[in-house]
């Protein structure tokens, strides 16, 4: 783990792996926010949970 330029079995370095992970987390957060909004609208305007 000491060498930051080490290429791991997947062909990525640690920095590249972290970059992919950042984007995946960001995408998940955006998806989550849209999902929360959609569920809020569904709760308000549909008989769901009423």
């Amino acid at each position: 783990m000491a060498d930051p330029n080490k290429v791991w079995p997947t062909g990525l370095t640690e920095a590249e792996s972290e970059e992919i992970h950042r984007n995946l987390i960001q995408g998940t957060q955006i998806f989550g926010m849209i999902a929360v909004l959609a569920h809020l609208l569904a709760y308000i305007y549909s008989p769901w949970l009423h």
Binding site: T10, L12, E14, S17, E18, L24, F31
Partner: protein, 61 residues
């Protein structure tokens, strides 16, 4: 970032589609269960409930 190094040992070409598929299948399953186990979804999507419910009152007058 926690777990940020996971893509050093899991190929993104395998892990990312697996992750997205898990989210999609899980979400679809929950919504399918909702549609098949409740009675109100069909009525809600059919619409027109408000006017149908309001009409008898109007007739009574």
């Amino acid at each position: 970032m926690i777990y940020g190094k996971i893509w050093c040992v899991v190929k993104p070409s395998v892990g990312i589609p697996l992750f997205l598929s898990a989210v999609a299948i899980g979400s679809f399953a929950v919504h399918l269960a909702l549609v098949t186990n409740t009675t109100w979804v069909k009525d809600f999507l059919q619409g027109g409930q408000k006017t149908a419910a309001a009409q008898p009152q109007a007739v009574k007058k």
